[in-house]
Chain length 403, copies 2
Amino acid sequence: MTTSQEIAPEIPVLTSLPVGFSASGVAAKIKKNGKPDVAMIVSDLPCAGAAVFTTNRAKAAPVLRGMAQMAADPNAFRAIVINAGCANACTGAQGKRNAETTARLAAKALKVKASQVLVMSTGVIGAQLPMDKVAAGVAEASQALSLDGLTAAAGAIMTTDLVPKTARVDRDAFSIVGIAKGSGMIHPNMATMLGAIVTDADVPAALLQQMTRRATVRSFNSISVDGDTSTNDTLLVLANGASGAKIRRGPTAVAFEAALTEVCVSLARQIARDGEGATKFITIDVTGAKSEAQARKVGRTIAVSPLVKTAFYGGDANWGRIVAAAGYSGEDVDPDKMSLWFSGVKVFRNGTPTAYSDAEATEAMQPHDVSIRLDLGLGSAQATVWTCDMSHDYVTINGKYRT
Amino acid sequence: MTTSQEIAPEIPVLTSLPVGFSASGVAAKIKKNGKPDVAMIVSDLPCAGAAVFTTNRAKAAPVLRGMAQMAADPNAFRAIVINAGCANACTGAQGKRNAETTARLAAKALKVKASQVLVMSTGVIGAQLPMDKVAAGVAEASQALSLDGLTAAAGAIMTTDLVPKTARVDRDAFSIVGIAKGSGMIHPNMATMLGAIVTDADVPAALLQQMTRRATVRSFNSISVDGDTSTNDTLLVLANGASGAKIRRGPTAVAFEAALTEVCVSLARQIARDGEGATKFITIDVTGAKSEAQARKVGRTIAVSPLVKTAFYGGDANWGRIVAAAGYSGEDVDPDKMSLWFSGVKVFRNGTPTAYSDAEATEAMQPHDVSIRLDLGLGSAQATVWTCDMSHDYVTINGKYRT
């Protein structure tokens, strides 16, 4: 059995939110199991906002609404409302009205404008939001807001996640904290499943957007659970400036972007570690590439291969599948230049199997956390991608998800 | 349990090979389980040949050899030798020498030139061929050739396949028969896993190649088991002209291509039906597309989604996952124009769930053979794609493939 300690070693202890933020998570019975399902994060001050949304053409209603808000005015956000249990995707005009109503209900309770409230949803696709339950949940969540409510919020956005996902980076001048949910339908493409990050730094919206895009590529876009890109993938970043730390182009921006990337990478790794049915956490380093983009594309192709993922589940050092996946990545790679290591054991060098012992390679695959390195022999760029194995439980969970 | 009748309803009764061909299948202990693993198909006359090979950059040694042969002279082939149990992929210079040696051994036994012998391999990637066993197997197979040996050949190329795959079309003037193997690492891209088709028609090599490419798109390139494109995918077609039926441009070519496509589609459907661990055979019709290519791309994206495939395994009418997969296919689709049917039950119309009953939709998913139709609402083109579900057995089979 996978223990929660194995899948949650990276979760930091959260003391409080950045200055000027509060959060909550409550149970509104949108989920059939009665667990918390409405989360709220609120800022006392207007926030600059940045966002990355799914590239899926079947965008959920809250995604379409959020994209319009970011285009209209990304400078005065006050709140994020998130529900789990229903994705409000493939729901037509009624779904769009329900997303707007959710924002209006929150705005009224918080005494802000609906245009200042961002909405996210996750859960079953193709079902309408139960608006009576949403209304009750939003009312309760707005009453439950507290300075240490982020863990409750992280719990309320979970679906098949086993553990909540939070991350925090503190610097002298500012703090950044974030929450995320993942588990299945995880193959982010310019976005994550759901992630919300808040900071008390003062960052102009345009700069925040640039930094968010770059951080996303190296974090949420570098993980995969099953190759399915969700209809709801959204990462929101809000900066309220309450700490007084002004982030502008130059050294302050470099320092802030490094901290933001650290939060994103931590959340992304937590999502891969807690993939549906996962029994192993796999770090894939692709080195010797012509470009970072090439390394990442090869790594993502390996990370999504059902044959690679089931071999890791079975603890079978069937490394040929990794080379095969690199071969169909669409990148111009050459197996005769490749070398491959399993947790330090070199099994393939310049296109030919080495004289490794199979027992040694198999042994290297047994720990919960395993790493592979594939050197492409083409250049000096590299990228790291994180994924999990594919187990019997993945099939069980997804064969009966709605029941 | 899936029975062999459920996965093999399409296998025709094979009486004999087309005029001038013989075949055999023998056990040479390349497979650990001792089952047949060397197949041979031989023509008494020189054959025009056509081939489609994997697009994987990590091409196996026999694939590289076959590509060179097709480029050098596709007009005088005499034999195909296929081994299962070892893919001879990721095997470097030694692997290339072993593929050539296999052809030389067969050529000597058959009294033809090595350049007239095509070689295919399937099985574990990253292991060298056991050449002593291959030599014995080739010698035995060349002695065992018979006019009704195609079923034995089809059995000897199986890996995790549960049933042999054969297809036959007879016309007044000629016959076409074929064999194939599939099961896992099935996501052909301009090729299939392994397929060999022979005919006694007289078809010029260039024309045969054009027809083979088109037939492949509508058959082997329209199935998926797991989204992994193999290192060894190869389809070979040999035409020896022994029937005297001259196929040239015009009506004879149209008739021959229709027959060739029929054989390819039958073999492809058999591969999808017998996918590793499959408990369901799923036909996906994508209609209302702007082009056949668009319809096929959307269909293939649905066919490879682990979330869609596990939902079918669980018999869960979680149709939102189908719309989501169409949305990330990369095609410019619009969910608000889509409609979706499960075995005739309309669940989604113009972007909104219909008033279907969940019991009715769930019932429609229970038979072994199920069909879904997704109308894109964009045009009048359509394509059909075939796949299977993803089960616990898929994970079991691939977690321990080499053991």
